[in-house]
């Protein structure tokens, strides 16, 4: 009699239905995967660099970066840097190995979108003279368009 009652209680235990739960989770995973936007960060602001302020609402593009800080110019795409003193006058060495590296980079990335554009990231207090000399070196090397990076109103 006691055994019979125990059997009756066991038969009333709630069983968790796993199949529909897994189905719903699969749906959620598919939804999340498809909703994810994978995007490369266009600009990484170096520490200690103060960007200029702009009214422009344009977004930045993913392109090779050149960073002009108060003491050096970094050419990120060829992993090279030069002291800022080399750009304060119009006398950058035309035989500098960066020219050959730029040409090689342009040849290697000719099919890549925006590879011949440059994101120029400069400190806001940098003189126009220095910025112009850096841009001149890049233009001589074959880069077609300069994108001057600044902080927009909405950022």
């Amino acid at each position: 009699m006691l055994d019979f009652e125990g059997d009756k209680k066991r038969s009333n235990v709630i069983i968790l239905q796993l199949a529909p739960m897994i189905d719903v989770f699969v749906l959620i995973i598919v939804f999340l995967i498809k909703g994810t936007i994978m995007e490369e960060s266009a600009v990484l602001k170096p520490e200690g660099l103060n960007l200029a302020q702009s009214m422009s609402k344009e977004t930045s593009l993913v392109a090779p970066q050149v960073i002009i800080t108060n003491d050096k110019v970094q050419f990120k795409m060829i992993d090279a840097e030069r002291p800022i003193a080399e750009f304060t006058e119009d006398n950058f060495n035309p035989r500098d190995p960066v020219f050959a590296a730029f040409k090689k980079y342009i040849a290697e990335t000719k099919d890549v979108e925006n590879a011949n554009h440059i994101n120029v990231i400069s400190d806001r207090s940098m003189s126009y003279k220095t910025v112009y000399h850096v841009v001149k070196v890049l233009r001589i090397s074959g880069f077609q368009s300069m994108l001057f990076v600044a902080e927009g109103e909405g950022q």
Partner: protein, 164 residues
């Protein structure tokens, strides 16, 4: 006896479990819906051919140029052009610290750009030359003034020697 046998056969007939099939199909429908991208078909219309006689133009290119020069504590912005009837306009703006946007400079450049656009609506490109001592923030402000309201999209940097 016959009736009993037929009842037993009906009970053993396979019944497909529809619930997981429906769940699977719903997942596939979601997947397909989210994978769809709609692309508008473009229509290319070729205009009828015409012939015209080309004439050699003696017009000098306009070559609009914005020059920003330092004058004490202020910035003198000049917009000059060549063409058959060259000319220039100028505006003044107070110089500010590079820590903030120079709204006065942006407005001065914008004023000049609007006048230039009204005078030469066909011109798409404008050159910029800043004095060597002006800074990157001021370059961005000049560009802001020229690009405001999509006045000029193509900007070309000129040497500081033209402004010094």
């Amino acid at each position: 006896m016959f009736d009993l046998e037929s009842t037993t056969q009906r009970r053993h007939a396979p019944e497909p479990d529809l619930v997981p099939i429906l769940d699977g199909l719903t997942a596939v429908i979601f997947f397909m819906l989210l994978s769809i991208s709609f692309i508008g078909m473009t229509k290319l219309t070729i205009p009828p051919s015409t012939s015209s006689v080309a004439s050699v133009s003696n017009d000098v290119p306009i070559s609009g140029r914005v020059i920003a020069q330092l004058e004490g504590d202020s910035i003198n912005v000049k917009l000059e052009w060549l063409g058959n009837k060259p000319g220039a306009w100028a505006e003044k703006a107070e110089r500010k610290q590079p820590t903030e946007r120079n709204l006065g400079l942006i407005e001065a450049v914008e004023k000049l750009a609007i006048r230039f656009k009204e005078k030469f609506p066909e011109e798409k490109t404008i050159q910029i030359a800043l004095a060597s001592k002006l800074n990157y923030q001021e370059l961005i402000s000049v560009m802001d003034g020229l690009r405001k309201n999509e006045l000029y999209a193509d900007l070309v940097l000129s040497s500081y020697t033209e402004a010094d």
